[in-house]
Symmetry: C4
Subunit: 212 residues, 4 copies
C-alpha cells in the first residue's frame, strides 16, 4: 500500500471505474447494486457512492473515507451501504488494495448450496489463478447469512478473519445477496471476481445437466 505515486493513485481510480463499467456490461452490478473501493496511501479509501448506476461512473461518484469509515470528502452523497464489509477486509488483510462487491445471478444461486456455512469449490485448473498448487484439495468459500443491517455481517466477517487468516481464498458469499472479493491491486481484485464467476457458472451448469 505504501509507495504509490500520485500517478499510481490516479491509475487505480481509473481502473476501479473501468472495472465498474465492465461489471455492468457483464450483468454483475445491474440496477444500482454492487460497490467497489481501492485503498490508497495514508489509509485513504475511495469507494463508490450509495445508489449510483455502475454503467457510467465518473470520479465524482467516488467518496473518500478513512479506515474507520469517516467520510473525508465534501460531496453530498453517502458511501455504499456495504462500506462496513470493505472496512472489515482492509482492517484484517494488510495487503488488500481493492475490494469489489458484485451481485451476480450465479453467486446468488450457488449461495443456496452451503454445507456448514461454506461452498465447496470444484477441482478445476482455474483454481491455479488463486495461487493454489496443482492437485491440492479445492478450498471452500465462506457463506454468511444475509442481514438487512450489513454491519452485523461485517462483524461475522471480522470474526472469521480472526479464526482463519492465512488459510482463505480472497472472497466470500452472502446468502442470496452476492460475492465480495479483495486483491492486492484493482487488477488482482478483477481477476478474483472473474475466477469465482467461472467456478460458479461451472457449478450451476453442471447441476443443470445432472438434474441433481
Amino acid at each position: 500500500m505504501t509507495g504509490q505515486t500520485p500517478f499510481e493513485r490516479d491509475r487505480w481510480e481509473a481502473l476501479l471505474l473501468d472495472h465498474a463499467a465492465h461489471f455492468y456490461r457483464n450483468g454483475w452490478v445491474v440496477g444500482t447494486s454492487g460497490n467497489l473501493s481501492v485503498r490508497l496511501p495514508g489509509e485513504e479509501i475511495r469507494i463508490t457512492a450509495s445508489g449510483g448506476h455502475k454503467g457510467a461512473l465518473s470520479r465524482g461518484d467516488l467518496l473518500t473515507v478513512d479506515g474507520d469509515g469517516r467520510v473525508l470528502s465534501d460531496i453530498l452523497a453517502r458511501p455504499s451501504a456495504e462500506l462496513s464489509l470493505h472496512l472489515a477486509i482492509y482492517r484484517h488483510v494488510a495487503e488488500a488494495g481493492a475490494v469489489y462487491h458484485v451481485h451476480t445471478i450465479e453467486s446468488n444461486l450457488v449461495s443456496m448450496w452451503a454445507a456448514n456455512g461454506e461452498l465447496p469449490l470444484p477441482p478445476l485448473e482455474m483454481l491455479k489463478g488463486f495461487g493454489i498448487p496443482g492437485h491440492a484439495a479445492p478450498p471452500s468459500l465462506p457463506i454468511f447469512d444475509n442481514d438487512p443491517d450489513v454491519s452485523r455481517i461485517a462483524l461475522q466477517v471480522e470474526e472469521l478473519f480472526r479464526r482463519k487468516e492465512g488459510a482463505m481464498v480472497p472472497g466470500f458469499l452472502i446468502h442470496l445477496h452476492g460475492l465480495t472479493v479483495w486483491g492486492k491491486t484493482p487488477e488482482e481484485a478483477l481477476k478474483h471476481v472473474e475466477l469465482f464467476d467461472f467456478l460458479f457458472r461451472f457449478q450451476v451448469q453442471s447441476r443443470s445437466m445432472e438434474g441433481r
Copy 2:
C-alpha cells in the same frame, strides 16, 4: 413531472433512445417488439412508433401523444400498439415519468408460473433496489392474460391500480408476452427493468437446476 427545463426534456428523450439501443443489445426488444415512452411537462408523452427496429432509433422515431392518446405530432407513423398500457400507467401513477415495455425470454418463461394471477418473487437482496426493506416478505408481480386487443389488457391494469395502488412493485407481466415497468425517471425505469430481469433469470436458472 413539473419543473423540467427544455434541457431536461432533451436529456430524457436522449436517455429513452439510449435505453432502447441497450435493450436491443441485450436481446430484450428484438424483431420490432418493445416500446418506450417518457412523460414530459404538460402531459406530453413521447413514445416509440409502432413497428420500428429498436437497434437504431432516432428522435424522428418518437411520436407525441396527449394523456388520452391523441397524436399531437405530424409524423405519419402510428404510435406503438401498446400505447394504451402506457396511458393506463401515467393515469394512475402520478409520479411515473417513463414506461418501458420489453419482450425478454425470461419474462415469457416466468409468466407461465402464475399462482392466482401473480408471480411470487424470490427473496433476494436485489429487491432492495425497489426500496423494499430488508427481510420484508418478497412481493408478487401481477400477471395479466394476453389479449390481441391490448386496450382490454389496459382496462384490467387500470382495474388493478384502483384496487392495489400504493402496494405494488413498479411493473407487471402479460402471459407469454412481456414485462412492463415504470419509474419516476428514465433512469429509474431502466433500473426496474434490470432488477426484474435479474429476478426472472435467477428463477429460470434455479428451476433448471432443480428439475422441478
Copy 3:
C-alpha cells in the same frame, strides 16, 4: 424488387455486411458457417463467398450470380455452398429480397424435435412480428433432413413451396444444421432471424426447466 435506385442497392449491400457482423457477434455464424444474400434489380443476386469468416466481411467478399446461379462477377471465390437454397427461395417467393442462413446452437437443438417434419412453434406474442394475428393457432416450421449435397435439400424446399405457398412462415430448419429465412428487405430478413431465435431460445430454456 423493382424500382431500387443505385443508392438503394448500395444500402442493401451495406445492410447485408452489417447483419453478417451482427450475426457473428451473436455467435450465429461462427467458424466460416452461414451465408447471406440480397436480390437486386434485374435478378442480380449478391451472395457471400464460400468459406469466409463473417466477422469482418467487405464488399469484395460478395459475388454476383444470376437467378440460375451462374457467377457474373469475375472474382475468384466460389459462392456459398448453400447457394441452391437461396435460389430456390428467390424462385418461389416473388417478394423475397434477402435470404439469410445461420447456424445457431438453438436452431440445431430444436431441429431434433420434429413432429411429422415440422417444429410446432410456441404461442408467444412475439409471433405478431410475422404478421400472425393474435390468438391464431401458432404455425409450424418445416424441418428438412440434412444432406451433404445441398442441392438435394433445395429440391425438397422447392417441392414444399409448390405445396404450401401462401401458408408458410418465412423460414425453415435443416436437421442439425441451421435456420434459413427470407424477407422483403434485409431489415425484414434480420427481423425474421431474430424472431425465430427468440422462439427457439424460449423452447430450449422451457424444456431445460421442465426436464421433459
Copy 4:
C-alpha cells in the same frame, strides 16, 4: 511456415493479439488463464507471457522462444506454463502456424464425459468446418488427464501424435482444465476454437434439456 514476409509476421502477431482480446470478451481466457502462440519463419515461436491478463495484451507481452522452448527475447517475463503443449504440437504438426489454449466453461463441462479417453462429438453440419465430409461418422476428441506438471501432459500429447497422426481433429481437451487447438494460420486456429465451442455448447445444452 516458409515464405512469410516481414509484413506477414507483423500481421500474424496482430491477429494473435486481436484473438486474445476476442477470447477475453467471450469469457474464454478470464483471470490470467489461456495462452496463444504463432510460429514464424526460422522456427521462431511468439507466445504470450505467463500470468498476463488477456483483455489488453500488447506486443510487449509476447516472448520469442525456439522450437525447444529456449527464450530468445530479452524481456523479463517467463513464457506461459503451457509452453510445452505448444512445442509438442509444433514438433508433430508440420503445417501448424498457431496454437491457442483456452479455458471455457463448456470445455471443462464436456471434459467430464470421457469415454475411453475421448469425447464423441455430435453429428452436426458444423463439423464441415474441420473439412470432415458430410455424413461421415463424427470424430472423437482426445481428453488427457490434468497434471500440475504440464510437461507430463505434453509427453502424452506427443505419444498420441505418434500413434494417430493424420487421423485427428485439430485439438484436444485436458480434464477440468481447457481446450487446445491448432491451425495453419491464426485465422484457422480461431475458426477451430469457435467450432469446438459450438459443439461443446450444443452438447451441454442438449444434456441440460434431456436431463440425462
